[in-house]
């Protein structure tokens, strides 16, 4: 055989009987795939070669082989039915003699009942799982709140207990004359502010606290209200180390704060 020529009959016979070495067999197979005439002739030759199986002394496999095969088939069918989605409804009108009702074996009912029980148990467990997850989430949030509160308290204590902490009293400006506050400032530990009678802000506003240094621009030490850290009316902020404070100012700014005070002042105090 070469190029577009057909494979000779004797070569096809050798191929059919399995007598060709692999490279030759592969080359012929490739040709046969594209040549219907050689394909037909090879099929004929294979049919002749297959007759050799009849010459063998006939024997039977153990009965367990068939039993295992049938069990394997059933398992496969069940697996396919389980995995089929959407489920295919198969009508088998000719698979059974007429007038004979389809047989439903007891284990089919048993399996159906077991499946129902499993589904109910699964639903129950799923519901319980969701409830526990929600409880866990609530507990986690509660724990985070407690940790945050503890950190704040530690900060207050750190500032309030330090011997070199100074106190600055804040007074309300003209529009908020009733408002007042006290700042406890420690250049190393931070700032603690207690404010009273501050009006409630719009949701898009925050109180922003500023440290006014002896020289230079005011420096933000934190936000109070929406977007800021607050604990009751007390509040703790941080300052750059060793800052000298001339005074403190509280202004009303946009939520999230600004770099330099732009809004109206509500509390003002100097050392």
């Amino acid at each position: 055989m070469s190029g577009g020529e057909h494979i000779r009959g004797d070569e096809l016979q050798l191929l059919a009987v399995g007598a060709l070495p692999e490279p030759e067999a592969a080359a012929m197979q490739a040709h046969v795939c594209d040549c219907s005439e050689c394909g037909t002739n090879l099929a004929e030759a294979r049919g002749i070669a297959a007759l050799l199986s009849f010459a063998v002394k006939q024997d039977r496999a153990a009965g367990t082989v068939k039993a295992e095969l049938m069990a394997r088939m059933r398992a496969n069918r069940k697996s396919e039915e389980r995995n089929a989605w959407p489920r295919k409804v198969v009508h088998e009108p000719d698979a059974m003699p007429r007038g004979r009702k389809p047989r439903t074996s007891w284990w089919t009912w048993g399996l159906s009942a077991a499946a129902l029980v499993l589904a109910l148990v699964s639903f129950g467990l799923s519901w319980q799982n969701r409830r526990i997850a929600a409880e866990l989430q609530t507990e986690r949030k509660s724990a985070e709140r407690l940790i945050h509160d503890r950190e704040q308290i530690e900060k207050y204590v750190g500032v309030l207990a330090a011997p070199d902490t100074i106190t600055v009293k804040l007074a309300g400006t003209e529009e908020l004359s009733k408002a007042s506050g006290v700042v406890r400032f420690n250049a190393k530990a931070g700032v603690v502010l207690y404010a009273a009678d501050l009006p409630k802000l719009a949701p898009d506003k925050s109180y922003q606290v500023w440290l006014v240094p002896a020289n230079g621009e005011p420096m933000s030490v934190g936000l109070l209200g929406p977007g800021g850290r607050a604990w009751g009316n007390m509040w703790a902020g941080e300052v750059a180390p060793n800052m000298n404070a001339k005074g403190f100012v509280m202004t009303v700014e946009a939520v999230g704060g600004v770099a330099q005070p732009t809004g109206p002042q509500v509390l003002v105090g100097e050392e």
């Binding site: 050798l14 399995g18 007598a19 030759a45 049919g47 002394k57």
Partner: protein, 183 residues
């Protein structure tokens, strides 16, 4: 026992295959009863190992169960396919290779005899045995070595001391003699 239709006719292989496509276990059971012995005997002849032959037998019929649509009626005979597939799988096992790579295009097996009944199988078996018995020893040995031993014509030549051409011609003659069985 050969399954029969209500009219007393034997259910054809293709009819069984069609039912297997609808996951009819009885149809596969019938096909197994029809050809299981032939398949098992051929595999056992090649492997000389009952357990390995049973494995091939079960795998082959499970393959039919899972993919009945792979068998194209236009391309040949189911009985022929089963016998060739059993032979190829057994040879692969003999060479300690993965059987899956040895599938070839087994669909293309034109089997010119109807062996759907066990009586027909016995008749064909008698004829084939007679043909084989009447072959010269070198021809019989060559074709059996190739088909059941999975060895090439050059290996057969080395084994028997026959010239290559004689081995090839011997296989050709044996095949020609077998062809008479189906005429």
């Amino acid at each position: 026992m050969t399954p029969q239709s209500p009219a007393g006719q034997t259910t054809t292989d293709w009819s069984l295959l069609e039912r297997i496509g609808r996951k009819d276990e009885e149809a596969l059971s019938a096909l197994y009863d029809r050809y299981g012995g032939l398949v098992f005997s051929a595999a056992k002849r090649i492997l000389r190992d009952t357990g390995a032959a049973e494995e091939i037998l079960q795998d082959l019929f499970f393959h039919v169960w899972r993919t009945p649509e792979k068998f194209d009626r236009a391309r040949g005979s189911l009985a022929g396919w089963l016998l060739v597939a059993a032979r190829n799988r057994a040879i692969s096992k003999l060479r300690r290779r993965d059987g899956a790579s040895e599938e070839l295009d087994e669909n293309g097996v034109a089997f010119r005899v109807n062996v759907e009944r066990h009586a027909a199988q016995n008749r064909i078996a008698d004829k084939v045995r007679e043909v084989m018995a009447n072959l010269p020893d070198n021809q019989r040995e060559a074709v059996e070595c190739a088909y059941f031993g999975g060895i090439t014509y050059s290996e057969i030549a080395n084994k028997t001391g026959e010239p290559l051409v004689a081995v090839k011609t011997g296989i050709g003659s044996a095949m020609a003699a077998l062809k008479k069985v189906v005429r």
